[in-house]
């Protein structure tokens, strides 16, 4: 397979600029780049979801036009999406048969069992999808692709939702497929994975192909430099001595699932001290959203003593009242939750800052003060925008995240709880956000970080725990913890269990 001079423009940006890409049978090829580098666009063109403005695609030596995903599948191209397209209330078998437009029958069931056992992807066709873990759901998507005996398998950021153990299982499967002659295009921005798995890499930056490299011959650092352009200042691990003062206390917090297929929280205990960063690891969908809502006050607790801020019961307080008590939070979803997309940055400052910073005078919004606050956040946190009148939706992910985190930090909370602080954020912004979290803790704020990014948690947190199926593990000193241990905790095992096994 070869792509030549692929160009695709969207209104306002050039997503792909004359990109060449060549793949051989049996090769695992990495497509590497930051968020927004044009990886997804290129893949969508290859899979027939988008049409290139110019450029050509060659398949097994012959030029082809791929007009739709159906024609891509006919050629033998299969794609495993980052986001799954599964019906939760149907069984594994039914989901797979839907994708193939054939009736669910015995023969298909046998084939599923055969393929899944051959590639080490254990799967029970009769299970309902909503009972499965994320890793198991991904297996369905992979098996669904393998049933079509593809010649080219595209994996779009497959490991972002997996535990470290699940990742290594996936790699075994991928290597076996490659050995059988399947070409694999592996899309990621995680450098260590690419070094472990891929034999060749194409690196994209800002819609252009900047380099091809053999990952084995490069260091993680040089790959990162290729991917991000210039060297960036990465925060270092810091050691802190937290005080004994408990700023946020959760006592046996339980919450039934609020929606269908939601995750109930069970007996969560946590003490967060002034001047420390506690990290909560976990694969998405294990109760992080629910935990954040309980802490922020979007969901109130029946027992007001189950959650205490600075020793005072706060379980029944609204988010605004909790902010006045000193607790500021940042939810995971930037647009539509942490900010209002169609409002200006000034209005978005007012959204949460009016409780603590006196932006209301005599019942009316004080525009001067609000604007001054917005300007301060923009300057202090180096937010790239067209001033405080820009719509929140016009900012890039990284800049908006800096703005949101900055907005809360500028309110000088005594407890700061943030979910996925650097998810989908470019490396420069991620480094800046992590540094500001460290600076806050050094200044005596109690900081809680909920994240899927293990490297991030290992880097910045003083103590660490994992959330699995709505249950929180014990909290361990990060210095005593390894990524492997953490992976087991994320899978629901406790350290003692693992020690006796």
């Amino acid at each position: 397979m070869a792509m030549r001079g692929i160009t695709k423009a969207y209104p306002g940006c050039l997503a792909n600029d004359a990109i060449d890409l060549k793949l051989e049978a049996g090769q695992i090829h990495a497509l590497l780049g930051e968020n927004g580098a044009g990886k997804s666009t290129l893949v969508k063109i290859l899979y027939g979801l988008l049409q290139a403005d110019s450029g050509s695609i060659e398949w097994c030596g012959k030029p082809v036009t791929i007009g739709s995903p159906a024609s891509a599948r006919e050629l033998g191209i299969a794609l495993v999406f980052q986001h799954f397209s599964l019906f939760e209330s149907l069984s594994v078998l039914e989901n797979i048969s839907l994708g193939m437009a054939v009736a669910a029958n015995r023969r298909l069931e046998d084939k599923i069992i055969e393929v899944s056992s051959r590639y080490g992807l254990p799967l029970d066709p009769s299970r309902q999808v909503y009972t499965l873990s994320v890793g198991e759901r991904q297996r369905i998507e992979i098996v669904r692709c393998l049933l079509q005996s593809p010649k080219l398998l595209i994996m779009d950021e497959p490991t972002s939702v997996l535990t470290p153990q699940e990742v290594s299982d996936l790699f075994v499967t991928l290597r076996r497929l490659a050995a059988e002659g399947v070409a694999i295009l592996y899309i990621s921005h995680k450098l260590n994975e690419i070094k472990a798995l891929c034999s060749e890499a194409t690196i994209l930056r800002g819609g252009k192909r900047v380099a091809s490299a053999i990952p084995d011959e490069q260091s993680t650092r040089s790959l990162a430099a290729l991917m991000m352009g210039d060297e960036i200042e990465v925060p270092e691990r810091e050691s802190r001595t937290p005080s004994n003062k408990v700023m946020l206390q959760l006592d046996n917090v339980s919450l039934p699932a609020t929606e269908l297929h939601g995750v109930p929280l069970t007996d969560i205990n946590l003490s967060l001290h002034a001047g420390e960063i506690v990290g909560i690891a976990g694969v998405a969908g294990n109760g992080q959203d629910e935990l954040m809502q309980v802490i922020s006050g979007e969901v109130r607790l029946l027992n007001e003593h189950a959650l205490q801020i600075d020793g005072k019961p706060a379980g029944a307080l609204s988010p605004g009242e909790r902010r006045i008590q000193g607790l500021c939070t940042v939810p995971e979803e930037r647009l539509g939750h942490a900010s209002v997309p169609a409002m200006t940055l000034s209005d978005n400052v007012f959204l949460t800052a009016h409780n603590r910073t006196g932006l209301l005078t005599g019942g009316l919004i004080n525009k001067t003060k609000t604007n001054r606050f917005a300007q301060k956040v923009i300057e202090q946190f180096n937010v790239q925008c067209n001033g405080r009148r820009s719509m929140a939706s016009s900012l890039s992910g990284g800049n908006l995240q800096k703005f949101i985190v900055g907005r809360e930090i500028e309110q000088q909370p005594s407890v700061f709880v943030v979910s996925q602080p650097t998810w989908g954020v470019d490396a420069g912004a991620a480094a800046a956000i992590r540094k500001s979290l460290q600076a806050m803790a050094n200044a005596g704020t109690a900081v809680l970080v909920v994240s899927q990014d293990l490297d991030e948690l290992m880097l910045i947190s003083d103590r660490i725990a994992a959330l699995c199926a709505g249950q929180l593990s014990s909290v361990y000193l990060t210095t005593d913890m390894t990524v492997q241990h953490l992976g087991l905790l994320m899978g629901g095992a406790s350290i003692s269990e693992e020690a006796t096994a």
Binding site: S318, D347, T352, N355, I365
Partner: protein, 356 residues
């Protein structure tokens, strides 16, 4: 080939231009319709758009028709900003008329200054009561307020009919379905001698200012807007959704009820089975035509009131059915929704065949 291309940002210009384009298209389509009906175009245009603006009396009538439309549309716009879809302003209008009118009839023997304020208060409470029902059903049982508020309108219409045929009917009225005439102390003062223009018009303008300040400068207005465009962000900020739903409904109920009372205590002067030419529904068009903005709603209210008067004039001068008003208002909403596409998309010409 014409195709639509998504804009990077919504066009501000088109936000203002779309209603104007819609209006122009409506007039154009209306004239085509008249041409097909064989009506002379110059005469039709004059009847519809010039005659209603030709004298002081005609202009005052425009104010009489526009005042309830603007009042209700302003009140509706608050809810629509907050994603609260109150379709039942017509019913709240009628309940306001019933409750306020009942006060006038109950104190028929007394002519005192306090009768009128009492009627206004009763009208507002009546409208609020009717609006409280869908608010309660929505907040307690999550029932769709579009359906409940709409259905309550028909109950209100029948309730009014029942009352003017029964308890509130004129004892000396030979079983006509109407109440006694309200006496002078129970009728709104006229603000322009020789016309029917009553205090509803200045009240509507006052309301415009109040709501403008509410929406642009207060925490409540901010919370309403956030709840409308990003409800999760509203929860995160700590705004209570149920409280906003209650406020939207009760505010609209009070205003619509007040408008209903103004109508029976003003131009009509008594209770009849049919007191509204659909003000509560037409106000929905006004609210959207005015972009849910207080000032836009004033202009939209005047334009729609003009089409109502124009429809009446066309009925008299050209023998056209009154349904022509409904046709015009329907086309206006239709074209407005169509031109709204231009806010988020631009029209581009593309050579055919370059893309599969």
């Amino acid at each position: 080939m014409i195709s639509l291309q998504a804009r990077v940002e919504p066009s501000k210009l088109m936000g203002f231009a779309a209603p104007v384009i819609a209006l122009a298209l409506t007039v154009l389509a209306g004239l085509i319709l008249f041409a097909l009906l064989g009506v002379p175009l110059d005469k039709a245009f004059y009847s519809f758009f010039i005659e209603p603006l030709s004298s002081t009396y005609e202009l005052s009538e425009l104010g009489v028709k526009a005042a309830p439309l603007i009042m209700i549309a302003i009140a509706l716009s608050i809810g629509y900003r907050a994603n609260v879809w109150n379709i039942g302003a017509e019913g709240q209008f009628i309940l306001g008329a019933i409750c306020g009118g009942a006060v006038a009839l109950f104190f028929y023997e007394i002519e005192a200054w306090y009768i009128l304020p009492l009627m206004v208060l009763a009208g507002m409470l009546g409208g609020m009561l009717w609006a409280a029902i869908p608010a309660l059903l929505r907040t307690q049982f999550n029932a769709n307020e579009i359906l409940t508020s709409l259905m309550l309108t028909y109950i209100a219409v029948l309730l009014l009919s029942l009352l003017v045929n029964g308890p509130l009917s004129d004892p000396d009225g030979y079983n006509h379905a109407e109440s006694r005439m309200f006496h002078a102390a129970a009728t709104l003062p006229i603000i322009l001698e020789g016309t029917r223009l009553h205090i509803g018009a200045p009240v509507a303008l006052l309301l415009v200012v109040v709501v403008w300040v509410l929406l642009s400068r207060t925490l409540l207005g901010f919370a309403l807007k956030v709840n409308g465009i990003a409800p999760r962000a509203g929860l995160y900020a700590g705004f209570t959704q149920k409280r906003l739903i209650w406020f939207s409904f009760l505010f609209c109920g009070a205003v619509a009820g007040c408008a209903g009372l103004f109508e029976v205590a003003g131009p009509i002067g008594l209770l009849l089975p049919e007191i509204s030419p659909g003000y509560g529904f037409t106000a929905i068009i006004v609210a959207f035509l005015g972009r849910l903005h207080p000032v836009g709603i004033v202009f939209a209210g005047l334009v729609v009131a003009l089409s109502t008067l124009g429809g009446e004039a066309a009925q008299i001068n050209l023998n056209l059915p009154l349904a022509v008003t409904g046709v015009f208002q329907g086309m206006l909403l239709f074209f407005l929704l169509a031109t709204d596409v231009l806010i988020n998309y631009r029209v581009v010409w593309r050579a055919t065949g370059s893309r599969a």
